[in-house]
Symmetry: C2
Subunit: 370 residues, 2 copies
């Protein structure tokens, strides 16, 4: 079955090659009857435009590429979802590549997308984008997501320090006297969360704070281990508030506490700091500070559009988006996820926003997204 090409359609319809091309790209230029004839012929022959040839001849593509480190992290999915919706709104396609936690693959797909005449490319990088100097001088708009970089360029990130601050203020409002922070701050994001917590608590010297390293990977099992250790303490050395630096950790802590007969949130409150639906349990509601993944994806596409539409785009633009705390359970989480939107039924504990500019670039405050 030989592929049918545009010239076949033209011959079959008795028009010229260029007319068929116009039918595809500028239908308004054709007489309605010509258009109809051509469309019928296209369907009859099962013609499918060769995208490669289109892109080669035409230049632009009206599609964006998105490289994600994994597909299984709720946060990445929210990004993908936000980016997808915004892209469709502008009439663009979104193609997603899974870098599978592999630097080399990430680089591979980045190059692939840049070479495919995509109108723009977004990455949620695993490492600092300073590692991709090649990308900097590419003639394709690029936006980094969920990462801070000092280099010139575009990025959109959650305000992780604000997240820490929010969670600390939440603990204070709940009357906490002894806070334990669980997790290893291996990544910049987590470091900033811890920083935010410390800053907020600086005004409350009476509150005791401990930071416990949970092991290299911050897994639920690590959280479970710490939780068990906390449960084993004498009651007066036990914290009344535990913060998991990620929801997965918090979830593990909760499981351990409940297993050991400690009431949550009766005796110990536990909060997460991630907004990762995969970690939300059905029976013990988890309060978490959710970074606005959906908004980050959306804003990423908007920055792409901005670069495309402006002839002389700014060389640098850093956007920080605030977060909101909310209490979630599996049931609400599922509804949330299934609607792929940040919906309202959540109990809004507190919302906070902050914008900051690390360069002379524009900073935008999108505010809390609830």
């Amino acid at each position: 079955m030989a592929k049918v090409k545009i010239s076949d359609v033209a011959r079959e319809a008795g028009v010229s090659l260029g007319t068929v091309s116009n039918a595809l790209n500028h239908p308004e230029k054709l007489r309605p009857e010509t258009l109809k004839l051509i469309n019928e012929t296209i369907n009859r022959l099962g013609y499918l435009p060769n995208q490669s040839a289109r892109q080669l001849a035409g230049g632009a593509t009206k599609s964006f590429g998105l490289v994600l480190p994994r597909l299984d992290h709720g946060f990445s999915l929210q990004i993908a979802s936000g980016a997808h919706n915004e892209a469709r709104k502008h009439g663009y396609d979104l193609l997603i590549a899974n870098a599978d936690n592999d630097d080399i693959l990430e680089d591979h797909y980045l190059r692939y997308f840049m070479g495919t005449q995509m109108s723009g490319v977004m990455v949620q990088p695993m490492a600092s984008p300073d590692w991709h100097p090649v990308m900097a001088k590419m003639p394709v708009p690029i936006v980094h997501l969920d990462i801070h970089c000092s280099e010139p360029g575009y990025y959109v990130a959650a305000d992780n320090e604000a997240q820490g601050r929010i969670i600390a203020e939440l603990a204070i409002a709940r009357g906490a006297h002894h806070i334990v922070v669980v997790g290893r701050a291996a990544f910049m994001q987590l470091t900033l969360r811890v920083l935010g917590i410390h800053k907020a608590l600086a005004l409350h010297p009476d509150i005791k704070i401990e930071v416990i390293d949970a092991g290299e990977w911050n897994t639920a099992a690590d959280g479970y281990g710490i939780g068990a250790q906390i449960a084993a303490r004498p009651a007066d050395e036990r914290p009344d508030f535990v913060v998991g630096l990620t929801d997965v950790l918090a979830s593990g802590v909760i499981s351990a506490l409940v297993d050991k007969g400690i009431a949550v949130p009766g005796q110990v409150r536990v909060a997460g700091c991630d907004g990762n639906p995969l970690a939300w349990s059905g029976s013990v509601p988890l309060t978490t500070v959710a970074p606005p993944g959906y908004e980050i994806g959306r804003k990423g596409v908007q920055l792409l559009m901005e670069q495309i539409e402006n002839k002389a785009p700014a060389k640098t633009k850093h956007v920080h988006i605030g977060s909101a705390a909310r209490t979630v359970t599996a049931v609400t989480a599922i509804e949330d996820i299934n609607r792929q939107e940040l919906v309202r039924p959540f109990l809004l504990e507190r919302a906070s926003t902050q914008a900051s500019s690390q360069t002379d670039a524009t900073a935008i405050n999108l505010g809390a997204y609830l």
Copy 2:
């Protein structure tokens, strides 16, 4: 910043255009020193091959496209993961498109991929693939995932009837006397699950069975409603075993029962039938029959490879993959998901496999995947 093209590299390196192309595609044909010179020039100039031109001129692409109905369903993610790993193993890229539960978008991306000179395309369709007659005669290998179609063509699906049978046998083994099946069998997959349950129970006329429609969308809220209704019954009319046709439903049922003071699994056992990690709760373990999403993705790519490598591939091939029941909690689920593999720490309740062939095509039994 003008794009640097292959001719720029050639001129700069003092070789011909074809030689640079060879450096990229057939490095073994070049003298090592020429190769080195060219590679250095490529890096110095930041040259990036134009994929469109490549594909147009070259034909094949060594990449697959995967169209998914949503990104947020655990099952789709498992498919993506399995497909990704298998594709990489063969040196192929995998690009993913999100159809966002929209037929038109699904069709759009399908056409897009077919037109992009992809080596093969996979879809997890929302509706019967019979609706895509155009696709049938495309010169690109295509495999349908997670769906049964009688038409000639390739598909890989979970054996949904076997899933129903497994869950029923599980109930029998647990000594159930009264089983309630919750959910609307709106899709073929669910219908087959119900069928499997009925077939298995046909041998046990003493066991009472009820099927309760949960509302159009089978949401967690629907499950909650049914659960509340069950809880409100007098003890002797209450089932001792509830099957949710999806994990989301089962999760809702559990929440309701627990809320109303019914012990799970003490008074009522609840099982799901979906393997959807997003529905797995932390505190009440859910026993579910998980369709092997990862394996389906893997097998899908294998069928693609088969079509590519055989000059005269079979016109039809239907593969049904068995399932395994397991008991899961949020913590194990997270570990599972994070490793993106089907791992072993699960308690394996029972495993079953079945292969069937609806046509004269080859049927393959991959067996339980645990």
